[in-house]
Amino acid sequence: MINLKINGKAISVADGTTVLEAAKQAGVKIPTLCYLKDINAIGACRVCVVEVKGARSLVASCVYPASEGMEVITDSQKVLDSRKTTVELILSDHERKCLSCVRSQNCELQALSKELGCDETKFKGAVNEFPLDETTPYLIRDNNKCILCRRCVAACRDYQSVAVIGPNARGFDTHIGTSFEKDLKDIPCVGCGQCITVCPTGALRERDETDGVLAALNDPTKYVVMATAPAVRVAIGEEFGLPLGTNAEGKMVASMKMLGADKVFDVNFTADLTIMEEGYEFLGRVQNGGVLPMLTSCSPAWIKFIEHYYPELIPNLSSCKSPQQMFGAVIKTWFAEKNGIDPKNIVMVSVMPCVAKKFEKGRPDQSAAGVPDIDYVITTRELARLIKRKGILFNELADAEFDNPLGVGSGAGLIFGVTGGVMEAALRTVKEVLEGKPLEKLNFTDVRGLAGIKEATYNVAGIDVKVAVASGLANAKKLMDKINAGEADYHFIEIMSCPGGCVNGGGQPIKTAFVRNNIDYRALRSKAIYDTDEAMTLRKSHENPIVKELYATYFGEPNSHKAHHILHTSYVKRGKY
């Protein structure tokens, strides 16, 4: 233990504790801006400076180790003035269009400048001007609002091992950019959006599609179907002040009905359908000596990752469309035919915890009915924006249920929203179907939890099936390297791009660094999913009655010719640069 004094108060902390952490233990919150636990302790912004007795200058508490006998002052006039000046300097080179900024009132810079008593006009002078990068369907990069905290750089590098952005140029001209200042569309960015979720300001944001959705909702000639992904319901409440880990499915559905959607459906349904298609594809590969290990294909940033960085493993990818794309495909074929609606008049709005889904909807081979399967993808954040714009009092609403028939999803479909969920859902079905008797235990706990890589072996009908689950592409990379090195004997691997899975997707409500550093919000959102699954009676994909009906009346059987045409897709090799 190390003994030190923080503002005169004696405290003992463990070896390796930083001054920032020690202060928190002493009941003092030191403000931070660039600091992000585990991935970005670089001492760059200088907001967290403190006085340490004997040090030549102020020190950045986020990177300064506590040491025996140290005396720290966190609140002297000098410290407070310095922090204020630092933020005022940042503001002097920040595009202060705060009134209309998408991050207004959820902006760490804004909160900090208020907290520190800053004057945003204190420093006058040159302001950098950068063109916006709007070249991708998923992300807007606005360097005019960037404050060079580099949290995005760290997330891209450490969470995802993608590292396509970094600081370019020097001096006042320093900015975050891509190699050779290329457009985002021309580099191997996978579109996961983790950079957005760590950005303290509005410099990184999703490409907002709410205007298009509003227009469709107001167009009487259009039949608007909205469908939500599993992880949206356990996060949307945060946008309305509900506690972390609240499953607000009922209010979410009610508000979407009030938005004016013709049908409000649940993507959990096509998660179940995915299990049927993917499960049978896996069986086929095992029985017919196909390419193994099979890799899941639900996560579009993961798909893009493989296409850029491991194109040789494309044959390992399941050919199943993602649940989102299957949903749009089913709506525009079976549902349209059944209800006599011209698919051209259907506007399919997908609500996702993800920004890569905005890219996915424009991929080739995703138009089962000759029109795009999906018309709009809005994130959890955008859905909240729509609800607010329409004046809907989310918290006041009585719970409502999804419409029929495609509002029926199993617990297995629901757990698609968390890392390990696809694997567990598949195991529930494959094991029970192959063994021909009801499962004794539905919970496959070895593949649960927030560990980056999980491995397990399950006996399925006498065969030992070796599975692996990874979330965060840096972890996926480790598994892919093992496969390429011939060191992996897995049969089936589930990958989700975002660390922790879709609950922590790039389209989810943004948590400040203080929350990220101190609360395991991913675990809370995951728990809401597992608790809901646990309480459900329908917990296996193959028992979903609508899935059964769909096979009986439309597709015939999983992996049938028709199912292949509508529910499966293909991939492309992409270069790196």
């Binding site: 760059a44 200058s57 940042i90 002078g125 600081p167 020097r170 001096g171």
Partner: protein
């Protein structure tokens, strides 16, 4: 042939050399740097053999400690202590690095050593490797020094051929290998942690300390980093002993220091003088005074991180601590002499422009703070500043010193603070009177034709923009709106009738 040979002064008796004492530059210009035999003939590699054969690593460090040698790259940290820290650090691998990324404007002593005596660096680094327990070294040289790179590579190859570098050196069982890494023109890569990032292939920008390089340096291993001039002293200290070295200099600064003498001075170039030599000796004797009989105004030391020494400190004994006490610093040894024609605000602006451009952009105080500082200076030199600006600028200087991440940022305001300290009247003249006393700041400059004008019309003919009008034999006038302040009229006037106003 001269008839009177005895009247030719020996080189060492000339004013320029007689006050110098050359340790770091001892072989420069004397031996063929591309021939290892010549280095060996001048006691080369003798110190290495002495260390290997008769000294323990700790004894080597003790000698360096006792010599009082301090880092010549600017910081002045005791070299022996640095080696001791690195030796004491636990690590499966350790490194010895050489900072040859000489970047201060006008400084070129490291270049002279590498081009003139490259083996001195190799020998010293090998000794350092022995002392701290490292078998790998890197020399980080700026790519703008192609000849230094070439000669150092030749020297490395020759040393390897002779068994003085590489595996099992001189059959002692000790290994030490050396590689060159090229810098790509970033001033900040002279900062030790930025330099290591750059060697590792990362963006050259500083990382927070602690951990210090002695504990976690290159590739997160304990690392000794010294600059070229520091290494150039090592072999001589080992050979001649700590006492020999520490007999030179002042109480806390031992040995000699190389300065790059430049600016308004008769003799320019590299001078190596014992620590404690006065500024007066350097400028009046070695430098031969200021040309044109002009008045000495200031000497700038320490490069962009340093400050200006005013006439009242003309007799200061130059060493690390004295310079810091008067608001400047040793730096890597740039010494620029300024006379009455230099504007001190303009000088401060020059250095700020440099540090701002060379900021790595990582921390806020340096990236944005120095830009705002520069803007204050621009405001002052263009006559648009008020007294409040002057006050705000000063507090911004102290803010940057207290808050910047690395040495580059922390010292960036020094040129401003030191000129404000000693030449406040010049700042006031710019701010209050809207005048540049030295007549340098163009926006405050006005050329005026006085009654001494004879009406010869020469200036009107020379003026490139036709701003001067007047008839023969009558006093001419300058249209200030047209004037571009090039000064051609003043230069061409034979009657000294044109003055700066």
């Amino acid at each position: 042939m001269s008839k009177n040979v005895s009247s030719v002064t020996s080189l060492n008796d000339t004013a320029f050399y007689k006050n110098q004492y050359r340790i770091a530059l001892r072989n420069c210009g004397i031996i063929d740097p591309e021939n290892i035999d010549e280095y060996i003939a001048y006691d080369g590699y003798k110190a290495l053999i002495k260390a290997y054969s008769s000294m323990t690593p700790q004894e080597v460090i003790d000698v360096i400690k006792a010599s009082g040698l301090r880092g010549r790259g600017g910081g002045g940290f005791p070299t022996g202590t640095k080696w001791q820290f690195t030796k004491n650090s636990v690590g499966d691998k350790k490194f010895v690095c050489c900072n040859a990324d000489e970047g201060d404007p006008g400084a070129f002593m490291d270049r002279a050593v590498m081009e003139g005596d490259p083996h001195a660096v190799i020998e010293a680094m090998t000794i350092a490797g022995y002392a701290i327990g490292a078998d790998q070294g890197y020399v980080y040289i700026r790519a703008e020094y192609p000849l230094a790179v070439k000669r150092l590579q030749i020297a490395i190859n020759q040393a390897k051929e002779y068994g003085l570098l590489g595996k099992n050196i001189l059959n002692t069982g000790y290994n030490f290998d050396l590689e060159i890494r090229l810098g790509s023109g970033a001033f900040v890569c002279g900062e030790e942690t930025a330099l290591m990032n750059s060697i590792e292939g990362k963006r050259g920008e500083p990382r927070p300390r602690p951990p210090f390089p002695a504990v976690k340096g290159l590739f997160a291993k304990p690392t000794v980093l010294n600059n070229v001039e520091t290494y150039a002293n090592i072999a001589q200290i080992i050979l001649n002993g700590a006492e020999w070295f520490s007999s030179m200099g002042t109480v806390k600064s031992k040995g000699t220091k190389v300065f790059a003498l430049g600016g308004k001075i008769v003799n320019t170039g590299l001078v190596e003088i014992p620590m404690g030599t006065t500024l007066r000796t350097i400028i009046e004797e070695i430098g031969g005074g200021i040309p044109g009989g002009k008045k000495f105004k200031a000497a700038q030391t320490g490069g962009p991180s340093g400050g200006c020494i005013p006439p009242e400190h003309f007799d200061i004994e130059i060493d690390y601590d004295n310079l810091i006490a008067i608001g400047s610093m040793m730096g890597s040894g740039g010494l620029i002499v300024m006379d009455e024609d230099n504007c001190m605000v303009d000088i401060a602006k020059f250095f700020l422009e440099f540090t701002q451009e060379e900021s790595c952009g990582k921390c806020t105080p340096c990236r944005i703070g120095t830009q705002r500082l520069l803007e204050y200076l621009e405001k002052i030199t263009s006559g648009n500043a008020d007294m409040q600006d002057l006050e705000d600028m000063e507090s911004l200087c102290y803010y940057i010193k207290d808050n910047a991440l690395c040495g580059l940022g922390q010292t960036a305001p020094n040129p401003v603070l030191s000129t404000m300290r000693y030449f406040k009247d010049e700042y006031l003249a710019h701010v209050r009177d809207k005048k540049c006393p030295a007549g340098v700041c163009k926006k405050l400059l006005k050329f005026i034709i006085t009654d001494a004008c004879k009406g010869c019309t020469l200036c009107a003919k020379k003026c490139p923009v036709g701003a001067i009008s007047g008839t023969v034999k009558n006093v001419h006038t300058i249209d200030q709106a047209k004037c571009i302040k090039c000064g051609v009229c003043m230069e061409s006037c034979k009657f000294s009738a044109i003055i700066k106003g």
